[in-house]
Amino acid sequence: MKHLVQRFFDAQRPHFTEGGRLARLHPFFEAMETVFFAPADTTRIGPHVRDSLDVKRFMALVIVCLLPHLFFGMYNVGYQSLIAVGRAPDFLPACFIGLKVVLPMVIVTYAVGFFWEILFAAVRRHTISEGLFVTCMLFPLTLPPTTPLWQVALGITFGIVIGKEVFGGTGRNFLNPALTGRAFLFFAYPARMSGDAVWIHTGGQAVVDGFTAATPLAVAAAAEPPGPLVETLNGAQYDFWTLFLGRIPGSIGETSTLLCLAGAAVLILMGIASYRTIIGGVIGVLATGWLLNLFASPGGSPWLGISPFHHLAMGGIAFGLAYMATDPVSSPDMEPVRWIYGFLIGALTVMIRVFNPAFPEGAMLSILFMNVFAPLLDHFALKVRLRRRIANT
C-alpha cells in the first residue's frame, strides 16, 4: 500500500517540479502528497524536537467533525424532499436524493475553492493552507439545498477571494471566509437564500396539497399574537425534539442541534475549538432568551415568550457557535474575552430573531459582526493584561 502510493507520487512528481508541464500547480501536488506522507523536514535551529501536531491535523479534525453533518444533511435533504412530494420517506431513497443534490454542491465548492487558493498560492509562491479544506466543507453546509451551482461557485469565490485572500491569505482574514461567502449570497440573491421556497429540494415535482416548507424560524416569525409560540411550532410539527434532532427544513448541514453538540464536544475535548466561545455563546442565547421571556405578555410579540432552549434548537446558531464562531483566526486572540465574544454572538442572534422582522435568522450576521469587533475586544483585554505586568525594559 505504502509503496504503491509512493510510486504514484514519485511518478507524478516530475510534472509538477521546475520544468514540468504543471510546475505552476506544485502547491496542489504538495498538498495532496502531504496528505499521505508527512514531510521529511527536520528542525534547523533549536528547539530540536517539535510537537507532533501540525495545522494539517488541526484542520483535518474539524473536517472529521463536519462529516456527520454532511451525511445527515444529505439524508435530511432527501427526507424533506420525499415528504414534500408525498412519497414514503424511506432511508435509502432519501440518502440517494440527498447525495444527488448535495454532492455536486460540495464538489463545485472544492473545485472553485481550490482554483482560487492555487492561483493565489502560485502567484505568491507559498503553500496551500489547510484552512481551505475546512472553509470548503463549511460553505455548502450553510446553504439551502436548492441553491444553484453557479451561485455556489460565486459564493465560495467571494468568500475565498474577498473574505480571505485580499487580506493576505489564511491567518490574516478578519472575517470567517465561509460565512462571508454565505452572507454575499444572502444579500445578492435574497430570493434564493430566504423565504419559504428554498429549503426543500423538490426536483421539479409538484408538492402535495397543504404542504408548507417553512422553516421553524419562518413559522415563528410569522406567528400572530396571541398564543404561545411553542404551540404554533408544535402545530407545524416542530416540537422541541424534532428541532433538536434536526429532521426539519433548513440549510443542509445545520439542522441537527444534536450533531452540533456532539461536534462541539469533540472539538473542545481535542482542544481545537475554544470552549470559552462555545459555552459563552450558549449562555448568551439562554440568558437573552430568558431575559426576553420576562417581557412576554399575551398581547405582545409571540417571539418574546419562547423558551430559550428553542432558540438553541432552531436555525443555525448551534452550528454557527460550534464551527464558525470558533474559527481561531477571526476570533479574538485573548482567551478571556472569548467569553464575551461568544456571549455577544449568542445574544445578538436572539435579538435579531426577535426584534428584526427583516431577518428571520441572526446567527450568520451576529458572528460576522463580532468578527469585526474581535480586534477591539483584544485591544482592551491586552491593556488590562499589560497593566498587571511589572515592566522589564
Binding site: 509512493q6 506522507f37 508527512a38 533549536g46 507532533s52 503553500t127 481545537i272 511589572i390 522589564n392
Partner: protein
C-alpha cells in the same frame, strides 16, 4: 524555605533520561574552546597556532571587556584555530601534552573570604577565566564587572531534557559548594538557591543553602521564571544567575588556586546507548560519549534538546554545555501520519491519543509539519512560562514595533523554546523573540 509553584510550561515526555551512575572518562588527546558558542562575546586571540599553553593560559579575551579572559582547559600545544564565515572563531583546539603544566592563581582561605574585598574577588574571577560563568538577566550575557546585581540566583538542577542531576555532581562536594556560596555572598546582597521539590532526598547535603523550592513543568527551574514570579520592582529584572555546577568550578579556582578542568556531563536522549553521567575534561571531545556505531541518522545535541546546539561527531563541549543528547534525525516521510491515532506521539495538544499515555515517548528531530501562517491557536500563549503572548509579540516584531514587543514582556522571555515546540504552524517563535532581544541589547550597548 519558600515554595514557588509555576503552573505554565510543559513537561516534555522524552525518553532516554540518563541514569545516575558516573563514569570517569580517560584523558582525551585533545580539548577545545568554542568562542562561537559563547553568546555576545567578541574574542581577541592571545595565542597563535603552535604556541605552547598550560592549563590556565589565556587563549583570548573579550574586546568589550578586555579584563574578561578565557583560559586554556588543557596543557599542550595549540594545534588549530578554526575560523568560520566572517572570521568568527569556531574553535581553538589544543593537543594535550603527556604531563600538563598549570598556571597558578591566588588562593583564598575559607575563613578569609568574609574579609576579602569584593573587588579582589572579581579580579580573581576575571583573571581566573571563570567570571563569564556568571550571567546577567535578561539578556544572559556575562555581567559587566563594574556592576553589582540585586541578587544572584543559583540553579541547582536544570529541568530541560536532559541535564546533569545535581545529586551526581554534588556528591561529596558539599564543602566546595559551601565555599562557593560564600564567594557569591560577597558578590551580591542576596543569593537565592533554587531546587526542585524532593530536593530533601538527594540534595540533603546542601539543604542548608536552598532558599526556594520550585515546582512545576519545564522551565520552572529557570532563573528568569523565578524572577518573573518573585519580582517586586523593575530593578529585580537585572539579577545574575549561575548554575550549581559552575559554583563548584568557581569555588575550586579560588580555594585551590588552579584552573578547574573537570565537568560532569549527562548523556541522554532516545538514541543514546548507555545513558549515564560522565566526568570529562572541560572542552572535551564528543566522540568518546557519542558512540554512534556508524549510524548516521542521529543528531548530537550539545546541551538540552530545546536550547542546545547541533554538534558534529568530531565536535567538542562548549564553555557552558554540560550535556550531550542523542536524538534520531527523523528525516523520513511518515506514511499516513495525518490519520494515525498517535498513542506514542508527544504533543502539548489533545489532538492525539497520547493524552491518555503517561509514559515517556520516542521523539526525533522531524519538524512534524510544514511552515504555515499563524492560525491563532494560542498554544504558545498557554505554554509560555512567563506569560508573554508569543504570537502577538511575534506579530508586533514582524511589524517592526519593538516598543509594543517590550510592553508585552519580550525581555522576560527565558528562551526556553516551548513556543516553537508547540506551534502547529511550525513558526520559529522562540528564534524570532530571542533574536529581537539580542538585537535590542546590541543597540542598547552600542549607544
Amino acid at each position: 524555605m519558600n515554595l514557588i509553584r509555576v503552573s505554565k510550561g510543559h513537561y516534555l515526555p522524552l525518553e532516554g533520561r540518563p541514569a545516575t551512575d558516573l563514569d570517569v572518562l580517560p584523558k582525551p588527546s585533545r580539548v577545545a574552546v568554542l568562542p562561537e558558542r559563547i553568546p555576545f562575546v567578541k574574542p581577541k586571540l592571545m595565542v597563535k597556532e603552535a604556541d605552547a599553553v598550560s592549563i590556565g593560559t589565556p587563549l583570548f579575551h573579550d574586546k568589550r571587556h578586555p579584563r574578561a579572559t578565557f583560559l586554556s582547559p588543557g596543557g599542550g600545544v595549540v594545534e588549530a584555530i578554526e575560523f568560520g564565515p566572517r572570521r568568527v572563531i569556531r574553535k581553538i583546539v589544543i593537543r594535550l601534552a603527556e604531563t600538563e603544566t598549570a598556571a597558578a592563581f591566588p588562593r583564598f582561605a575559607e575563613g578569609d573570604l568574609r574579609q576579602t574585598d569584593r573587588g579582589t574577588l572579581v579580579e580573581a574571577l576575571l583573571d581566573g577565566g571563570l567570571w563569564p560563568l556568571l550571567r546577567a538577566l535578561p539578556y544572559r550575557d556575562y555581567p559587566d564587572p563594574e556592576t553589582e546585581p540585586p541578587a544572584i540566583i543559583v540553579t541547582l538542577a536544570d529541568d530541560e531534557p536532559f541535564k546533569p542531576d545535581p545529586a551526581v555532581y554534588l556528591a561529596g562536594r558539599q564543602d566546595l559548594f559551601g565555599y562557593g556560596m560564600q564567594v557569591l555572598a560577597r558578590l551580591a546582597p542576596q543569593v537565592f538557591v533554587l531546587a526542585p521539590p524532593n530536593g530533601g532526598g538527594p540534595l540533603q547535603a546542601v539543604d542548608t543553602w536552598i532558599t526556594h523550592t520550585v515546582s512545576g513543568p519545564y522551565p520552572a527551574l529557570d532563573p528568569g521564571v523565578f524572577v518573573y514570579h518573585t519580582r517586586r520592582s523593575p530593578a529585580d529584572n537585572r539579577a545574575w544567575f549561575v548554575s550549581g555546577q559552575d559554583v563548584l568550578l568557581i569555588a575550586a579556582l579560588l580555594r585551590d588556586g588552579r584552573y578547574p578542568t573537570e565537568r560532569i556531563v549527562a548523556l541522554g536522549g532516545p538514541a543514546a546507548g548507555r545513558r549515564r553521567h560522565a566526568a570529562v575534561r572541560m572542552g572535551a571531545p564528543l566522540k568518546p560519549l557519542a558512540d554512534l556505531g556508524g549510524e548516521a541518522s542521529v543528531r548530537c545535541i550539545v546541551g538540552g534538546v530545546l536550547r542546545g546546539f547541533t554538534g558534529e561527531a568530531d565536535g567538542y563541549f562548549g564553555y557552558f554545555e554540560t550535556a550531550l543528547n542523542l536524538v534520531p534525525a527523523g528525516d523520513h516521510r511518515e506514511f499516513m501520519a495525518l490519520v494515525r491515532p498517535g498513542y506514542r506521539k508527544a504533543t502539548f495538544s489533545r489532538a492525539f491519543l497520547s493524552v491518555l499515555n503517561r509514559d515517556t515517548m520516542p521523539m526525533d528531530c522531524n519538524l512534524h509539519g510544514e511552515l504555515r501562517p499563524c492560525v491563532a491557536c494560542n498554544a504558545c500563549s498557554r505554554v509560555c512560562p512567563v506569560e508573554i503572548l508569543p504570537q502577538l509579540t511575534y506579530k508586533s516584531l514582524l511589524a517592526d514595533d519593538i516598543e509594543e514587543a517590550l510592553a508585552h514582556g519580550l525581555l522576560d522571555c527565558v528562551e526556553c523554546g516551548l513556543c516553537s515546540y508547540v506551534c502547529p504552524a511550525k513558526i520559529e517563535l522562540c528564534d524570532h523573540l530571542t533574536r529581537a532581544k539580542r538585537r535590542y541589547y546590541q543597540e542598547q550597548t552600542a549607544a
